[in-house]
């Protein structure tokens, strides 16, 4: 655990970058520091590996003051990932990744073997090993940055806006990849970003800092969205926080209706039987994949005109996707019904906006109960 204890950073000109900040950063979780520019988030991160020394207060790593060990020993025990990757332009990809193991005295051979292993772990083609950084795309460079930080298998990973300089598509890939790697490795990650959506997506806990380096709120993302501490946090979270909060509610409990599902080659009898089941029927192809919605009266047995069908929006996968995805699917569909599919994209049921609304209310109720329980204890 990293314990930041009443830390202040004041510069000689009187500027206060961090103001009596206290935070407990749990092991094996992603803790995100988020806030507008000038909130001291990067300064805080850099105090953890002593690239910035606090003016007051102390930082403890597993109960021990970080000033008790030589600064370079401390830094080699913490991986560091920076915006634009900060790779060494004059070293090959493999040697970039092998940097810290080499510093720690590992042989060139061992260090390179380890580096090759890490290239695979972060999803880089090992054919790139002999290339130089300028030959890689921004996203690939950032992967190298992550691999380099992980090379010596440090327990702590410090990440300073690592994904801000890449385009949104690549950023999403890198975020997903980080979550996957974290699942496998379980590092203690401190992640700095100015992007609240990134914070909510990645963070186990999120610390929102306000300008002047003071802590505004420190909570799990779902709690941040449901109960922002003050108007600053609320403004910083931005619009749609009710909708965004739905990301944390599972869609598994939704009651799916299967009666409105009809195969495209259904006979007249089936169609007649289903006609009263729902205001709309979802037509599926031979594999069970959704084709589109239709009013029962418009369907004729054996002759479904696919162009006549209404768009079915974006299907969701119950259990994997959240209530947010389910609601999104229902809103996108002109019929107001969301389509649930299995992992292979086969329709397994449909659910109405009303049913999703009830599920949301039920989920809120459960959260409220848990909060009361926690408060009562």
């Amino acid at each position: 655990m990293i314990r930041i204890d009443a830390v202040t950073k004041r510069y000689p000109d009187g500027t206060v970058a961090v103001d009596r900040l206290s935070l407990e950063i749990p092991d094996r979780a992603i803790t995100v520091l988020v806030g507008p520019s000038g909130c001291g988030k990067t300064t805080t991160l850099r105090m953890i590996n002593r690239m910035v020394e606090p003016t007051e207060g102390s930082i403890l790593l597993d109960g021990r003051d970080i000033r008790q060990q030589p600064v370079n020993t401390l830094r080699r025990s913490m991986g560091y990932v920076i915006q634009n990757a900060g790779l060494f332009p004059h070293r090959t990809i493999l040697d970039n990744i092998a940097t810290v193991p080499r510093l720690l005295g590992r042989s060139r051979r061992q260090a390179r073997d380890r580096a090759a292993e890490l290239m695979e772990r972060v999803g880089l083609d090992t054919a790139l090993a002999g290339r130089y950084p300028y030959q890689l795309s921004g996203g690939q460079q950032q992967r190298v940055g992550v691999a380099r930080a992980l090379a010596a298998d440090p327990p702590v990973l410090l990440m300073d806006e690592p994904f801000s300089a890449v385009d949104p598509v690549v950023r999403k890939q890198l975020q997903d990849e980080l979550l996957r790697i974290q699942e496998e490795l379980g590092k203690t990650i401190v992640f700095v970003t100015h992007d609240i959506d990134e914070a909510i997506k990645l963070g186990t806990r999120v610390a929102v800092l306000r300008t002047g380096g003071r802590l505004a709120q420190y909570a799990p993302p779902a709690e941040l969205l449901s109960a922002p501490a003050d108007s600053f946090v609320e403004d910083f979270l931005g619009a749609d926080r009710g909708i965004r909060r739905l990301s944390f509610f599972p869609s598994a409990g939704l009651e799916l209706q299967t009666a409105p599902l009809v195969p495209a080659d259904a006979d007249a009898g089936t169609l007649a039987a289903r006609a009263t089941a729902a205001p709309y029927l979802l037509v599926t192809d031979a594999d069970g994949r959704p084709l589109g919605w239709s009013e029962p009266g418009r369907l004729t047995a054996g002759a479904v005109d696919r162009d006549e069908l209404l768009d079915f929006g974006r299907p969701f996968v119950p259990g994997t996707d959240s209530l947010r995805a389910a609601l999104d699917g229902a809103v996108l569909s002109p019929t107001g019904w969301a389509v649930a599919v299995d992992g292979e994209g086969r329709a397994i049921g449909v659910v109405s906006q009303q049913a999703i609304g009830e599920a949301i209310r039920a989920a809120h109720g459960r959260v409220a109960e848990r909060t009361e329980e926690a408060a009562g204890r």
Binding site: V71, N72, R76, Y80, Q83, G86, F88, P89, Q135
Partner: protein, 217 residues
């Protein structure tokens, strides 16, 4: 009739001998200049405020004519190669110091921050990151310093034939053999171009990590 490469005996050297001498008198000062410039430039990077005065001193040194240097230096080193080479070494500073300072400063800040964060001490950071990345800028400076040094050596003929190929210019007058002057000028020109080409090749070998023109991703 003497051939193009036959020199008067009082020059005391054959043509190839003069070429070798010329290269030594031109290149040793650049090498000395480089050895002085590296620590001076590093100080300028470390303590920003000393850079302007250092640059000022280098510029003033460059403005002093070599003849003025010779007058002073002859008292200590006589009419020797050393007397010729010291001013040349000092002249090279005006090119090399700023070249190295710019080169070291051009290292991307995130690369330096990453090096620091990975536990590189200041010395390691200098030798393993800053210096290698400054190589293109340093070699650019060396090219200018080397070519100018090769041309400036000739002035050494003024202090008792210490100008290597430049001595042929004086001999051309004395013996009424203009071909000697043509030879000297052409040879010095060719030496300059060869030295420059050698440095370009060296940069190419030292910096496989630089984006090459025409090379795709």
């Amino acid at each position: 009739m003497s051939g193009f490469f036959d020199l008067p005996s009082d020059l005391g050297q054959s043509w190839p001998g003069l070429v070798g001498l010329h290269l030594r008198e031109a290149l040793l000062p650049v090498l000395a200049g480089l050895l002085v410039s590296l620590p001076v430039a590093q100080l300028c990077v470390r303590f920003r405020w000393i850079y302007p005065p250092v640059l000022g001193i280098a510029t003033v040194l460059y403005a002093i004519p070599s003849l003025a240097f010779f007058v002073v230096l002859i008292d200590y080193f006589g009419q020797s190669e050393t007397t010729v080479m010291i001013p040349l070494a000092l002249y090279s500073l005006v090119v090399l110091v700023p070249a190295i300072v710019d080169g070291v400063r051009s290292v991307p800040p995130e690369t330096l921050a990453a090096a620091e964060a990975m536990g590189f001490g200041a010395v390691r950071r200098y030798f393993q990151v800053q210096l290698p990345l400054a190589v293109p800028a340093i070699i650019a400076g060396l090219r200018v310093a080397t070519v100018s040094s090769i041309s400036l050596v000739s002035v050494g003929m003024l202090i008792g034939n210490q100008g290597a190929l430049g001595n042929m210019l004086y001999a051309a007058q004395t013996y009424g053999r203009p071909a000697l002057a043509v030879n000297a000028v052409l040879t010095i020109g060719v030496l300059g171009m060869l030295a420059d080409a050698a440095l370009v090749l060296l940069r190419h070998l030292l910096t496989p990590w630089m984006p090459r023109k025409g090379a795709g991703r």
